[in-house]
Amino acid sequence: MSASTHSPVLKHHFGDLNQQHASERLGMWMFLATEVLFFGGLFGAYACYRLWYAAEFEFASSFMNVKFASINTVFLVTSSLTMTLAIRCAKIGDKAGLYRNLLLTFALGSAFMVLKGFEYAEDFHEGILPGASSFGVTDLKHNIKTDAEHAGLDTGKVRLFLCFYYIMTGIHGVHIIIGLGCILWLVQQTYANQIPPENYSTVEVVSLYWHLVDAIWLFLMPMLYLAGAHIPHAH
């Protein structure tokens, strides 16, 4: 146990490294439980309205850009893979591999955000907006509105879906940006030689967060983009 009790990365209030690693991991998992409930509140609200206003929600969802979102899914799932490989590199002391995987993860996450930006721009351009009064938009764009009315749907509830779309993807995007910041911090720590193999748990803790953000996207995808994928008219 001497390697484990006399390491420079061991903090004074822990008895040994195993205790330190286990505490850090558990701490992050508990934070993730918090995140699950944070999104859980949002998902619960979505579920109530989806139940009440199924037709409007599916109609509104059919205006979402499935192509962009699918590419983004591939980006995120792949970034999860590279993040997990980064832990492995940290454990076996492969510093070059650690750099490579962290930077790859960062690049994939950034690509996700860039594509998301293009998607927002397109939505804005096409007038797929919930009618936020403070942005000078008070109602749906004319063609969507007439489409909805033609289908016998309540345009208010179409706008309600779009509220969910912006709030959910927005909050998810904020999480991605925080995750990107953490990954950059890991790169800096690697550069400063602060991540020897016995300190691998630092990488693992960030990776847990990153995977959760990825997993949440896996649920946002069907809720927001695929709900109306069977409706042929748009895109």
């Binding site: 998992w29 579920a47 893979l81 832990i87």
Partner: protein
């Protein structure tokens, strides 16, 4: 509890005392392929509209499997302490409380006592 700090856990062969388990890249890549394949499946099923009003449940079931794969392999739940697994399950359980009791209201709101 396994968390008792003064207990030395029995170390299985191939298990480093401090580093724990080291992932094998082929397994990780297989998980990655599986998650993406499931994603393709859910897109195909949704576009076909073959499940009608049950599409959402099929989608969410597939999403749960995907998230489960990520949690089990990428997030190392398979090597997690008991309390880590318990934490993960607790978060699901509490979200379940929220969903079930929300639904208890929203699914029966419009029914009136006869």
């Amino acid at each position: 509890m396994s968390s008792d700090p003064n207990q030395t856990p029995a170390t299985p062969p191939g298990h480093n005392d401090v580093l724990g388990h080291v992932d094998s890249p082929p397994t990780l890549i297989m998980v990655w392929v599986a998650v993406l394949a499931l994603f393709g499946l859910t897109v195909a099923l949704s576009s076909s509209g073959m499940f009608g009003k049950y599409t959402l449940f099929v989608q969410l079931a597939i999403g749960t499997v995907q998230a489960g794969l990520v949690a089990y392999h990428f997030m190392h739940l398979r090597h997690g302490d008991r309390v880590v697994v318990l934490t993960a399950l607790a978060s699901i359980f509490w979200m379940g409380i929220l969903f079930v009791l929300f639904m208890s209201d929203y699914m029966s709101r419009s029914r009136v006592m006869g």
